[in-house]
């Protein structure tokens, strides 16, 4: 699946997107963050304040306990400041 990063999360990750292939045991957004953080120091640092980070699956906002099965694209980003 593809992960997108936006705003300061993109800056901290130093990339706007990447392809990942988490193991089957990783079934939720939270577990995806855990798994990435364990394998990627930059990610762990960028997601330090995890509670404020928002996520979407295939263009739909989701909570961190949302299942990621069948997700094509997962996006992570700071709270929105549009309008």
């Amino acid at each position: 699946m593809k992960i997108l990063y936006f705003a300061w999360l993109r800056e901290r990750m130093n990339k706007g997107q990447e392809d990942v292939a988490p193991p089957e045991a990783v079934t939720t957004i939270d577990q995806l963050i855990d798994w990435k953080a364990a394998n990627d120091e930059g990610f762990a640092l960028a997601f330090e304040d995890r509670a404020i980070i928002r996520a979407s699956i295939d263009d739909e906002l989701v909570d961190h306990d949302a299942p990621i099965a069948n997700a094509r694209e997962i996006a992570f980003f700071p709270p929105m400041t549009g309008g």
Binding site: A7, D59, P67, T81, G82
Partner: protein, 156 residues
């Protein structure tokens, strides 16, 4: 109902007039126009908006559709820009038409409140010190809660 997300500046008055020509027959139209602001105590040179293109369009279309259903609207339209914009340029314009003025006010207000917190745009303020991400305001979360929407507009 339509939503346009674009990089190019647009003429807010010309957009309003086009909307009146289509939907003005409804009687009441409320237009919200948000412009790039620079104040003496917090001057900025420009604003840069980053966005998630597909999700931004989808989310704003959802809020606009909900506004159509929730209030008695004849039509609602949203234009939101991304990229770099100068002080005084328009960032966003929402236009809501209804036979009833309160519905028109509520429709535009509802879309703005949800858009602020749940549409994927992120602002950077550009000053002589460089570009700095704007922090999300708690007041914006409170604003959307006034609608008592039991099912927040997100799925899953």
């Amino acid at each position: 109902m339509w939503v346009r997300i674009q990089r190019e500046p647009f003429d807010p008055g010309a957009e309003s007039n086009a909307f009146f020509a289509t939907d003005g027959a409804a009687g009441a139209t409320v237009t919200f126009t948000g412009l790039v602001r620079s104040t003496p105590d917090k001057p900025i040179d420009a604003l840069i908006l980053e966005h998630h293109p597909t999700m931004a369009k989808k989310q704003i279309e959802r809020f606009a559709t909900e506004a159509m259903e929730k209030f008695e609207l004849v039509d609602i339209a949203v234009i939101h820009r991304f990229g770099e914009m100068k002080v005084g340029e328009v960032i966003v314009q929402v236009m809501a038409a209804s036979p009833h003025r309160q519905a028109a006010f509520d429709g535009a207000n509802y879309v703005m409140d949800w858009l602020k917190t749940d549409a994927p745009f992120w602002k950077q303020e550009v000053t002589s010190d460089g570009a700095k991400w704007v922090e999300h305001r708690k007041a914006d979360d409170d604003a959307k809660n006034k609608w008592n929407t039991e099912t927040p507009p997100k799925s899953v």
